[in-house]
Symmetry: C2
Subunit: 204 residues, 2 copies
DNA sequence: TCGTATCGCTACGATACCGTATCGTATTGG
DNA sequence: CCAATACGATACGGTATCGTAGCGATACGA
């Protein structure tokens, strides 16, 4: 009930250096395996082998493989820098270019399909996916909100629609048609999204 | 070497009714399992249990689990009806609405993420994915080609770009933001794609 | 320095899967 | 009707996986 009294309480806040080493090593290796083989390519035995941390130790820190996976996925949030160029067009272009770059070189685009697949059935993963999606949409909402204050777009403009109009075509190229996302494509997609935002006929 | 001579040759063309029954049952069950659990949710033992076809028989028809999976995936091609309303806008709207409907109720959208995931690493699945993608893009190319003949769009318009601009936002909603794809969204997305097609500044 | 928390190692048990082997039975087509 | 073919049932060997148990070694922190 009360804070503490007798036992020093392992103190979740300040971990012993040893447990931190173990935990970090395991999480890093897990993420690495995820990058290589998706969620399905991660096994506890392999994590143990590659990280040098004993399997028993892994199970001392996480109750199950799923828990470990969810924990490791928390590292996925990219925390993108939200551009602030002073204009809606500048912000959107900068952010779109950033996403396009990430899709080409970052590691999370390799993992995401397996998360989407798992989310299709596993509700736990679905929750994780929703969190990732929210973080992904956040920059758009900031950018649109600023544009509203500047009077560049009507108040009814919806950030998520812009996200769909910009990221949608990018994702399509990355995972479906597998075409490269060149600069021209980024520009024209953003151009289209801007028109949608400023159009009289509201989006949705 | 020559066509045939002595043995009646099992005659791949005209299968014995028994083998057809077995093959069909197995393929149907495989597809069913894929719909429920994605590619990863398919095991030969489970197919055998659920279809009533002995595992030995399954291995008499397919050399491996992968071969069976690829065979079953051939059923995925949706062969969508290509609309011909007489105008580019009508065709695109009709086709977009069809895709939107499929995304909501058909079974392949449940399976596709697992294919995408597998294609990220397995070259065999990657080939299958490319075929599916080609079939998916085909209606767009027919529609755009007709519009070119009518002079509705410049000759440099690219069908795959239109596919990205239309299907991209749909896919985004289906698998990322998980919002429903209502009729308004379909209309506005198609509107945007039309603007892109007719814009002076070329797409890509 | 010394007790305790944490660790590594090895070995389990249980399950699920792939693919093969054997052998007796049922269907098919001539 | 009869031989060839396909089939079902069962069992197997091999591997990979998840999680747990026991036990001795080690690093930390007071």
């Amino acid at each position: 009930m009360s804070k503490s009294r007798k036992k020093p309480e392992p103190n979740v806040e300040k971990e012993s250096p040893r447990v931190k080493r173990s935990r970090d090593a395991v999480l890093a290796t897990t993420f690495e395996l995820m990058s290589e083989g998706g969620i399905g390519g991660v096994s506890v035995d392999e994590i143990s082998r590659r990280s040098g941390v004993a399997k028993t130790t892994i199970y001392r820190h996480w109750p199950s493989r799923s828990a470990l996976l969810l924990d490791a996925c928390a590292k996925l949030r990219p925390q993108p820098p939200i551009p602030d160029t002073g204009s809606l067009e500048g912000d959107l272009l900068a952010h779109a270019a950033f996403i396009a770059r990430q899709l080409k070189s970052a590691r999370w685009p390799t993992i995401l399909p397996s998360i989407i697949d798992a989310a299709e059935r596993d509700p736990e993963i679905a929750k994780l996916h929703a969190q990732l999606q929210a973080g992904f949409a956040y920059p758009y909402s900031v950018i649109i909100e600023r544009a509203k204050k500047r009077g560049e777009v009507p108040a009814r403009a919806r950030a998520l629609d812009t996200a769909a109009l910009v990221s949608g075509p990018f994702f399509f190229r990355r995972w479906y048609s597998r075409e490269p996302i060149d600069e021209m494509f980024v520009k024209s997609v953003v151009e289209r999204a801007l028109e949608a935002l400023k159009a009289r006929s509201t989006l949705t």
